[in-house]
């Protein structure tokens, strides 16, 4: 329940930041050129507007998007790695490596969240929060502000502790699910549908194909062939045979088959 709300909030935030930043830069560029055109009335009004802050706001929005999007990316399993070797291991060894990788992710993001949190606290959050409750101390550091928008930097930088904590939580969540079910997250629309289909789904994701940039989970089946190293020089007939076999298996265990 809470998890679902968190998922939605995360998606909403990331979508909004992506769209918002695009619109802001578009409007700022448009403004720069329209203000140079002599249209009575409109030009005067445009000249009163100042878009000097657009670039800075765009950067801030994208950095926030990057931090929270990276957390969302853990949930969708988009982060690329070097999985050529572990994908050739047998299942029990691969399981260990996958869990190790996920926990390493949690360790790194957890550490960064702590470091970032301390940094934000010492650079103004402490002052701002204590001031808000009317108990400001003399020796607290107010912290710098950003150059154009003059926002306190601690608020801007709080993307690091917030985003990294969320990412840490996501890594633990994915690890837990993997231990329980043996499945890693993959995008539902990752596979472009077969030859009959001419329309690409709107959210096709080229990074979630069957490549070796992501670990294969325990329920993984290759498209078109099974890969176990030895049979790489198959004749055409054998490949075709494999493909038929692969399709049957897919439909049989109902893993990816039912999505296609």
């Amino acid at each position: 329940m809470i998890n679902k709300a968190l998922n939605h909030l995360e998606e909403l935030l990331v979508t909004f930041l992506m769209g918002g930043a695009t619109v802001i830069i578009f409007v700022a560029v448009l403004h720069r050129y329209l203000a140079g055109v002599e249209i009575p009335g409109l030009q005067d009004w445009l000249l009163t507007l100042n878009f000097g802050w657009a670039q800075e706001l765009c950067i801030i929005m994208f950095v926030w998007m990057a931090k929270f999007g990276a957390a969302y990316g853990v949930r969708t399993g988009i982060h690329v790695g070097v999985d050529v070797l572990i994908n050739r291991l047998d299942e029990s060894k691969r399981t260990k490596f996958i869990i190790f990788g996920l926990l390493a992710g949690a360790l790194f993001t957890g550490t960064v969240a702590t470091l970032g949190g301390r940094f934000v606290w010492e650079n103004g959050a402490h002052y701002a929060i204590f001031n808000f409750f009317g108990m400001a101390g003399e020796d607290l550091f107010e912290g710098p502000t950003t150059p154009d928008l003059e926002w306190p930097t601690w608020a801007v930088y709080s993307a690091i502790p917030l985003g990294s904590s969320l990412m840490c939580f996501r890594f633990l969540q994915v690890a837990w699910d993997f231990i329980k079910t043996g499945e890693l997250p993959h995008h539902d629309h990752g596979h472009v549908d077969g030859l009959e289909e001419e329309h690409v789904p709107v959210d096709v994701d080229v990074y979630s194909m069957d490549d070796n940039l992501h670990p294969h989970d325990l329920k993984h089946e290759m498209v078109g062939e099974r890969r176990d190293g030895g049979d790489r020089r198959q004749t055409k007939a054998a490949v075709a045979e494999e493909r038929r076999g692969g399709a049957d298996r897919r439909n049989g265990n109902g893993d990816r088959g039912d999505k296609q």
Partner: protein, 427 residues
């Protein structure tokens, strides 16, 4: 010594299969806690300021633009236009596929996206027209690689971020090699089709060509917006990327109407997901190169290499081999972000032009995308055709071989890359 420990640790962590970004970050953290005096605060700050450059923001914008363009409309009309122009020659639809990929590459900055956009429409059509499955898959998987050579290109933005080279000059430098590679791939297609006598399309009249051109003109105009905008200085590359994202949105939703307004949030979320993944690698790669610079490792490596009498020719050969090997394990963005900061100082000391070096890296990345085990283009093509990777590997080899020859030419003939930006006065 420190360098060995750092790279050893990084390689070990990466081979366990954890995300590249996490292995970069953990290497940095381990190094910080055990071997150096760099204050932790400066690292926390770097996590934010590492991607606080406006140039980097071109990446999410180009991804967004590409995602708007992928959905049918623009790609379909470009294919029709290409078919009307070259479809009657040997190779017919295959040749049209190369041309369509080149056109789409000029509006999109990503290779796999080009394969998805062109392949999902053209490959079924090619099978219907009587081409063997392998031929079509081979053409599209390799031609899709043009996506990162013909500007705009996300990999070029990554290179410019890692080495502070001008994005505009890099984009311009990609134009001529891109056209040459397209011609080479087209030549291979033509030759193979002629040998096997594959079907050809009926010749289109000039009136039909004009109609096809007019229908595809909204997509083609985007080339003018991006390249013209950057060249004339109307936009910075990032602004051009933002403009192309808005333009692509308008074309997809209001002009070609392949996509409803209700699909827009999905596209935004999907683009954000992909961009955030790349930006996260950048953040950690920036941390990594910050630590390396702090320890003077690139300089030490450069001195060591030069001390062993490494000439320009040997160095470029070593770079090519190194990058081609790396292409067996990693995807292009990570390779560029990790290797460019290390190799770049050496290249500069040897008097290699930064822009030429960038193009060389990009072409290496293209080759890596077209062969297993991690070639994204192959996996996308496999997703579309449902062919196995082994079969696809066999299918792409004629084009891949010509691409390797092309790589040799790019490596040892810098004029091809730097003539255009020099002539235009961009470098």
């Amino acid at each position: 010594m420190n360098a060995l420990v750092i790279f050893g640790l990084l390689a070990a962590l990466m081979l366990t299969g954890m995300p590249v970004s996490i292995s970069l970050g953990l290497t940095v953290l381990t190094f910080l806690f055990t071997m150096t005096q760099v204050p932790l605060e400066s690292v926390a700050l770097k996590l934010f300021t590492g991607i606080e450059k406006f140039e980097i923001m071109a990446i999410p914008f180009f991804i967004l633009a590409g995602n708007f363009l992928t959905h049918g409309g623009v790609a379909k009309r470009m294919i029709n236009f290409a078919t009307s122009m070259v479809g009657h020659w040997y190779g017919g639809l295959g040749l049209a596929g190369v041309l369509a990929c080149a056109l789409f590459a000029a509006v999109s900055g990503s290779s796999p996206a080009t394969v998805v956009a062109i392949g999902s429409i053209l490959l079924p059509a090619m099978v219907k027209a009587g081409f063997p499955n392998r031929f079509g898959a081979g053409v599209i998987a390799t031609s899709g690689a043009l996506g990162i050579l013909i500007p705009p290109s996300i990999v070029m933005v990554m290179y410019s971020v890692a080495t502070n080279t001008s994005v505009g000059a890099l984009f311009m430098a990609g134009v001529i090699p891109g056209l040459v590679l397209a011609a080479t791939l087209g030549g291979v297609t033509w030759f193979r089709a002629k040998k096997n006598n594959y079907p050809r399309q009926p010749k289109a009249s000039w009136a039909q060509r004009w109609v096809a051109f007019r229908r595809s003109v909204w997509g083609l105009l985007l080339i003018v917006v991006v390249m013209g905008g950057i060249y004339t200085g109307i936009f910075t590359p990032t602004e051009a990327a933002a403009m192309s994202a808005v333009y692509a949105f308008i074309v997809a939703v209001f002009i070609y109407k392949d996509m409803g307004l209700k699909d827009v949030p999905k596209v935004l979320l999907n683009s954000a997901n992909m961009s955030a993944m790349l930006l996260y690698i950048i953040t950690n790669a920036v941390l990594f190169s910050f630590i390396m610079t702090n320890e003077n490792i690139p300089q030490a490596l450069a001195d060591w290499m030069l001390g062993h009498g490494l000439g320009m020719i040997t160095f470029l050969l070593v770079v090519n081999v190194l990058l081609l090997l790396a292409g067996n394990f990693m995807e292009p963005s990570s390779i560029v972000l990790i290797f460019a900061p290390i190799l770049f100082p050496v290249a500069v000391k040897l008097g290699i032009d930064p822009v030429h070096f960038g193009i060389l890296m990009v072409v290496n990345m293209e080759v890596g995308m077209c062969h297993p085990p991690v070639g994204l283009n192959l996996y996308v093509a496999s997703g579309i055709t449902k062919m196995g990777i082994t079969e696809l590997t066999v299918a792409v080899w004629p084009w891949l071989l010509s691409m390797l020859v092309f790589l040799g030419v790019v490596t040892y003939w810098p004029t091809m890359s730097i003539w255009l930006p020099k002539t235009l006065g961009m470098m």
